[in-house]
Subunit: 376 residues, 2 copies
């Protein structure tokens, strides 16, 4: 018996509030998973990530298999111990980043051969090796290897990749071998084609997994296309299993995902945007590089309960960003992850209270109102 | 009357333990001042700097006058408010960094003209303008503008710069105008020539300052040369005023400085070394880039009271450094500043107990023993 289960606590229209039970603790859903690419959520101490409300983080198989190596992390006691994060970790399969980062990729029925973007060394990633790596890392939630293609793409290409991903899902299930320690999630593919998506979902459900992810979105298509896929496909997924939208997204993508029944999200956006001077507040997105902040003595958001939004002037944050100071990356990444986790916490409360629509409308109203007026 | 005073609490041979009283709080001496170059001690939150034991930090006039500008910081409420550091700040005069960083420098009796290394804009720094900038920043301890030359240098060049620095000291005193809010320190120059150094010190004492710095050391000369200057010159300085050795140094420079009667130190070394993978522990200096740490499951220093030295494996720290992760810079800068501040705290306790020689011998013994043996 797996230690993994999902309790659906409440629904509000299609939005769901629940909890995923794992051997390493509870994941409250809807959940946002900060991305700990190379065994660190960039520019934050692990305890900061936890304090901001993360129940789970994501680790990248591609990055970790290249450096420092899965076998090495295993010898060192697993990924949790390695990075001093004692709570659940979901690892991706490595497939997506092989496609976006590695050199000389060669895909076959067996898997994908590629060269490391760091030192050119040759690697092979198969469904079986991906599962093996994720087990070496001690991942709590393991993802199947899939082939994720960019959109737009020709229908036959979308279909080919979806069918291959399905066969890899079957092999992943066998390689996973009913592990008691971890859970295995499948990934629905099929691009922007609803029929292919539905076929993919039905076949995966037939095989049977601990959770179902929707992959291959946020890869170049308009937001409306992504939302259309979610609207049609999420209702097909088993309601007693977690639904995970991979690699998404900005706050309004996440709000739209929750509305369509998604339980889990991950994205590098909050930390990456923070490192580049962009922050999220109740006023929406603010670019601190903008010269309007140069002399602005006001805090980012005087009403925020996050001290970093209140204690520093916009002028100081602007200065840190312009000077490319590490403290700027630290503060702005913290502000963004705090905003994301607050959004998730309030979304959960709203769903539990049957008021998600009101909540979403209020949040969007704030974004639409936009930032406070410039000085002078 | 100035709010600034110095109490000498104990001496142990030449080593001194005291406290500097300022309007913003007490500075326990010997003190190490972390350098907050561009209004941030790199890779640390201000509260971390405080918790590690810093009573005072240093701000760089050169960096701050270029970006974001002294007048701007003043409009924003001063440097303390700007960077959220409510404790004492010492600012340098800008002279040293004009010489090492700026372009097209042109020095004259009046001051120094130069172009910004950031955008090529032209600036002029005179003794009067330096004092004005430091007052705009709201600095607690203001340094006179001086001309600091590299060693070795011809005697006539050393003498010329020392004499110019003396005339600038007189003008600085007049410009300072017995401010009640701040203190003004003079800078002894004269290179490695004891006679010139003694002349410089005598003339500055004659003018009268709140504290006396020794500048123009750690600029290329051997450590023994620096120590010789300190051995001969520190005893000439008024014993009822703080003695500050500028821009120094590595832990063994600091220990040697304390032994020779120095009360205050500053240096970018602990944070800069941390950003480049070098850390200080009871075992001396350790280069975490070294491949010997790749598989080392052991903590940096199991006996340390600093959690960052205990909770992470050397393998993890090595990984962060090799991956150029921001968290690596954060952790290693913290470890180095923690080590420096612990060294100062224990030095103060040892001087108070009349056991500084034993303490210094024990610390050096640890450094000499070196790091724990590599694994295997």
């Amino acid at each position: 018996m797996s230690n993994f289960s999902f309790n659906l606590l409440a629904t509000d229209n299609k939005a769901r509030c629940g909890e995923i039970l794992t051997a390493r603790g509870i994941i409250r859903t809807p959940a946002f998973m900060p991305v700990g690419t190379a065994a660190t959520v960039k520019a934050l101490y692990p305890e900061q990530v936890r304090e901001l409300g993360a129940d789970i983080i994501l680790g990248n198989t591609y990055h970790l298999m290249l450096r420092p190596g899965a076998e090495r992390i295993n010898r060192l006691g697993g990924l949790h111990k390695f990075m001093d994060w004692q709570y659940p970790i979901l690892t991706d399969s490595g497939g997506f980043q092989v496609m976006s980062l590695a050199n000389l990729r060669k895909i076959s029925e067996k898997g994908v051969k590629f060269r490391s973007h760091i030192d050119g060394q040759e690697y092979e990633l198969t469904p079986e090796r991906s599962i093996e790596i994720q087990k070496l890392l001690n991942s709590d939630i393991i993802m199947q290897l899939d082939e994720c293609i960019n959109l737009p793409a020709p229908l036959e290409e979308i279909e080919r990749a979806m069918e291959l991903s399905l066969r890899w899902a079957e092999r992943s299930k066998i390689a996973f071998n009913n592990s008691e320690k971890n859970a295995l999630f499948a990934i629905v593919q099929g691009g922007d084609n609803i029929k292919l998506r539905a076929n993919s979902a039905a076949s995966l459900i037939n095989i049977g997994f601990d959770g179902y992810a929707i992959g291959g979105l946020a890869v170049g298509e308009p937001q409306a296309t992504m939302f259309n896929v979610l609207t049609d496909i999420v209702p097909i997924l088993p309601s007693n299993k977690p639904h995970y939208l991979m690699g998404v997204g900005k706050p309004d993508d996440i709000l739209g995902g929750i509305e369509r029944g998604i339980d889990m999200f991950d994205c590098v956006h909050p930390t990456r945007a923070g490192r580049h001077g962009r922050v999220y507040t109740q006023y929406g997105s603010i670019n601190l590089k903008n010269a309007r902040h140069k002399d602005d003595y006001r805090p980012l958001d005087a009403q925020s309960d996050n001290p970093n939004c209140v204690r520093f002037s916009r002028a100081y944050l602007h200065h840190l960003v312009k000077s490319q100071e590490i403290l700027g990356a630290m503060i702005l990444s913290q502000i963004n992850l705090a905003y994301y986790q607050k959004l998730m916490r309030e979304a959960r409360e709203a769903i539990m209270g049957g008021k998600f629509n009101d909540f979403a409308a209020k949040v969007r109203e704030g974004w639409q109102r936009g930032d406070i007026r410039p000085l002078g």
